[in-house]
Symmetry: C2
Subunit: 301 residues, 2 copies
């Protein structure tokens, strides 16, 4: 118990659509640092503490860095955060508030990741992004959804895709529930990307079994601006095995979704609104859960 590092992440509300559609919002913005990342971070940092780690390195579009920095503060570790110029200023402020050091790396998320890996190789820093472990933490979002629906399974779960960890963790969790007999069906996992950063979408549409990294990206949805998703292939598997879909949205479609969600009482960061944008565009039937990955207060404008 002593080694558990927690800020009481998870336990987020599953909000019913006020407009009466068969639609729910899993509002991850009310996690301690304002995004779904805290679920995975709690596991990763607890393990790091157990190992006696002192220095942690992490590449981020912003949310993961904020999350890792907060849990490092609790665990009395040093957090070294690598990000890009696309990160929201509000997130950079948040990371620094937790006492972490921040390096803004020129280029893409992949470049920031490469810098963080250098500190592992050269200085022995513990690298966040042991994605299997992180995924194990992220699974709780799906366990909660099933629980909150009284062990029912929605027909569709829509998830924004950055690195893709959340999508495959959600898939894995529902699969486990089915395996142990707590549920008796699978939801379709529906992944959403921004048109300006769509490597998983490209592979889905062209039926590839690999991811083609993008050299340049261009989207206002900074939290899902990952040009070479670490868990891209796992996400493709989750989507395909669940008979799901991957779609892309323009920035305008995502911003419209964010604005409409506000009128439903749900303040989402831009990327977090992509799930609802996909719901609107796909005109899905059946019971649908949109995972809202981050709080609107994360946006700087």
């Amino acid at each position: 118990m002593e080694d558990i590092v927690t800020l009481h992440e998870g336990g987020t509300p599953l909000l019913r659509d006020p407009d009466g559609r068969d639609l729910f919002f899993k509002y991850e913005g009310v996690n301690p640092t304002g995004s779904f990342k805290d679920r995975g971070t709690a596991i990763e940092i607890s393990r790091a503490k157990e190992l006696g780690v002192q220095n942690v390195a992490c590449a981020t579009t912003g949310n993961m860095g904020a999350s890792v920095s907060a849990y490092c503060a609790v665990a009395k570790m040093n957090a070294h955060i690598f990000t890009t110029k696309f990160a929201e200023p509000a997130k950079i402020r948040q990371i620094k508030a937790y006492g972490a050091s921040v390096t803004v790396v020129p280029g893409t998320y992949d470049d920031a990741l490469a810098e963080s890996k250098k500190t592992r190789d050269e200085k022995g820093y513990y690298l966040m992004g042991d994605y299997p472990l992180r995924g194990e933490g992220q699974k709780s979002v799906a366990f909660e959804i099933a629980d909150q629906l009284n062990w029912g399974v929605p027909d569709n779960v829509i998830v924004p895709i950055g690195n893709g960890t959340l999508a495959w963790a959600t898939y894995k969790a529902f699969r486990e529930l089915e395996t142990v007999g707590l549920t008796n069906k699978m939801p379709r996992i529906i992944g959403v990307q921004a048109r300006g950063c769509n490597p998983v979408y490209n592979s889905f549409i062209h039926n590839l079994d690999y991811i083609v990294p993008l050299k340049k990206t261009n989207t206002i949805a900074s939290a899902i601006n990952c040009n070479n998703p670490v868990d891209g292939l796992e996400t493709l598997t989750a989507i395909r095995e669940s008979n799901g879909l991957c779609i892309q949205l323009s920035d305008e479609e995502i911003l419209r979704a964010k604005a409409e969600m506000g009128k439903l009482g749900i303040y989402a960061e831009v990327s977090g609104a992509a799930s609802y944008g996909a719901y609107k565009k796909l005109k899905l039937g059946g019971k649908t859960v949109c995972v809202v990955t981050g709080h609107g207060l994360k946006d700087s404008k």
Copy 2:
């Protein structure tokens, strides 16, 4: 049930001090709109819905306006928010995101309150700030603290004072727990104000039984910048009856507390850090709970 308007407020973590002091942080920043206000708003808006209200008016330093706007969005009511130039831009954005109208009134909080009251008198708008009702909602923060301490009662509960609703609601809740026998003692209620907006502190120090409204205020702690606290007298009673204290802090002391809290993994908005600033200054013995009233993401800088 149908008339209950909720975004699943409350149920916030009681975080143990990572430095091992007999100190806890009640982290209200993870309420749906990022502040403690949601607890009271859920009750006020549920009652308004029951009454068939269509238009709601609300004066705010920022957090209450955001909260009221969100719940109005869920309940399909129109929110008319009146604030001052001191409100954080991040809060104004949030209020507008929920579809509310915002009027920035010249002058103090009291002036914004007067404007909101005009819409009640002239247009029949339903005025938020039926403080007894709001206080009933706010009580849940104290019920949770007692529950989370296994029905123990801390020696001190430290609360920032804006309008003062939270302070007296906390007192009332602990008194009720004692009355029904769930607990057997009272905590000291310790109120904190900013030196630049200290009407309750002034009355406490000079042993007055009235509040002298301030004509001008000057503090960076915008969420507690209430020159004429609506519940000032009730707060004085709560402090006195509980053998508590009221103290004032300089902006520098509050900012230092905010910075130190970040290093403990707790990101507080400036005003929300005042409770910890008071803890540091008072060098209190005994078990202490600092109520952290709003999320650090609420600050615009």
